[in-house]
Subunit: 330 residues, 2 copies
DNA sequence: ATGAAAGCGCTAACAA
DNA sequence: TTGTTAGCGCTTTCAT
């Protein structure tokens, strides 16, 4: 049987109220009694039951984070930052992975709510008013990351569109004339939340537009390698392949290398994310870096602020930057 | 205010006991009343409070996992598998990262215990009888992974030593005569738990011994690149650099490439882990693969079994394999 | 089949 | 300064 506050009370010959005062150093207790109780707690190896405390306090000192998966290195880095920051503030972290399944995500959120987390960090795959209605029903502080939901929800992220536009502008300056853009399947467009991907695509298009370039092939399916296979890059004008994330870019690079193409002589490749393994890849991938740890930190800070002070830290303070990384792949 | 079981009771004109019977479909309730209550719960948007349930049930339906960090891809994969499996069994997962800090780890475990997790998956940096004493004090089911603690604790992992021995034997068969082994700093040897690293090193030594090879340089500090820099690999007999994990191997490979060495012609490199990014690296790194997801699955299965049935699934069933991956780097 | 009531371990308000 | 007591929301036992 676990040692409870009552056991200590009995052991010391005081009441449970007094024990509570000592343990949580609240005022109204004689120093001597306090020491006695504290010693007893140590002797008996007392350990507080957060479950019971939560019940009466109405707070659990836990946060929940909802992510797709940890396949992309960036997510793992984000999670690390969030865990660290959360515990710094005294919060424990539940992790829930949705595998991009909309129903699963809803269930995860529901479970987190039932477990009475004090706040949720949400990288959602769901979107739309119905979903937002659903979220509002929980009346739990929620902060969205990466995938924007609506102005109703606090958001931490980077200006994806501007970042991509900036990157592609650099490429255009290098004299590339033809562009292929590779993005995850958008077949769920309009249904699932693909905010970040859409923003990056728009950034790409904007960069082309502002340079009076119209030619661009946009590939939004998983068979992009098949598509690339049909192309003879040595017979085209200098072509740049822009990928919406580094993982795609690495796949493309690997594929084109097996096809005997020289990169960037025959064809250029750009990624997005600057995942940490890039340093082991040659040629160095040109990409866009953003402070993923900072996003995690900001999210936690703002969320905890909301929980404890009743208001989020405003967006003005959570603006984050990006950086073009000139590699050798384009 | 949240809707409670009492609200439903009042709403339906029944007692809270009846509501409970309906909600958790326990026997002793008329079908009609049950439907009425269920409907009311829906109407009022009732959501159970797991905190309260936990208090009376003595179980929280949560597990905790304690890891160093998520820097190594393998850990992220492991975590993904664990989360998935845990929720499959109806458990939620707390994550606690220790950053290899011994005190931090103890604190994490303590917090998890206070939050009343039903079980803990532990990849520990602590070790020794004092620590084990500490763990026993919690009387919570614990399963250790990767870093073995003692026979007192259920363990899931792979035969690290045999795996490394097997891999190195392959290398020896290729005719390599000189060997350099690179491992994380062992300055804490005897203090922190470096079981896996020690086992791998022993496997390496055993492989040499059984081939009557004595020559080996073992580097156990972080300045291994400085050490390698002093060596002219073209003037030595064929040298193999064995790294205790892929991350080191990738660092070494990158470094030697910048030094103008051809791999594997001038020097061979082998890693361990088979992290998923290897496919983007050339030359393909020779390494050892093990089923990290399976380790996560087994850990959860065994832990849940212990929680629910009172006994762990025995070690015989949790033996996992490894596989030598012949790349082009050695 | 249903209701009443005790209690999980803790906190907090009120008495003494 | 200390003790007493009433909950927090739920489950469970014992009456009815």
């Amino acid at each position: 049987m676990r040692v409870t506050i009552k056991d200590i009370a009995k052991y010391c010959g005081v009441s449970s109220g007094t024990v509570d005062r000592a343990l949580n150093n609240r005022p109204g207790i004689k120093e001597k009694t306090k020491q006695k109780v504290l010693q007893a707690a140590k002797d008996l190896k007392y350990r507080p039951d957060f479950t019971a405390r939560s019940l009466v306090k109405g707070r659990t000192m836990t946060l929940g984070i909802v992510l797709f998966d940890l396949y992309n290195r960036s997510y793992a880095q984000l999670l690390t930052a969030v865990e660290l920051k959360a515990r710094e503030y005294g919060y424990f972290l539940y992790i829930a992975l949705t595998d991009k399944d909309m129903e699963n995500e809803k269930q995860c959120i529901e479970y987190l709510a039932n477990h009475k987390v004090d706040g949720i960090i949400l990288f959602s795959v769901n979107k739309g008013t119905e979903f937002e209605e659903y979220l509002h029903g929980f009346s739990i502080p929620i902060i969205t990351i990466f995938n924007f939901l609506s102005a109703d929800w606090e958001y931490v992220g980077i200006p994806e569109r501007a970042a991509m536009k900036n990157g592609v502008s650099h490429i255009i300056d290098k004299g590339y004339k033809q562009f292929i853009y590779i993005s995850p399947p958008l077949k769920y467009k309009g249904i699932t939340n693909i905010y970040t991907q859409e923003e990056r695509l728009q950034g790409f298009l904007e960069a082309l537009a502002s340079n009076d370039l119209k030619e661009a092939e946009i590939i939004r399916h998983n068979d992009y390698l098949d598509y690339l296979e049909k192309i003879n890059f040595r017979q085209r004008e200098r072509t740049a392949i822009i990928c919406s994330c580094d993982l795609y870019a690495l796949e493309v690079m690997r594929f084109l290398k097996t096809k005997g193409y020289s990169i960037p002589l025959d064809v250029g490749i750009m990624g997005f994310d600057n995942i940490d393994v890039l340093k082991y890849v040659t040629p160095a991938l040109t990409t866009i870096e953003y402070p993923v740890e900072a996003i995690g930190d900001k999210a936690v800070e703002s969320l905890v602020h909301k929980i404890e002070k009743g208001s989020y830290i405003t967006k003005e303070n959570t603006e984050l930057s990006y950086r073009f990384i000139a590699g050798e792949s384009i």
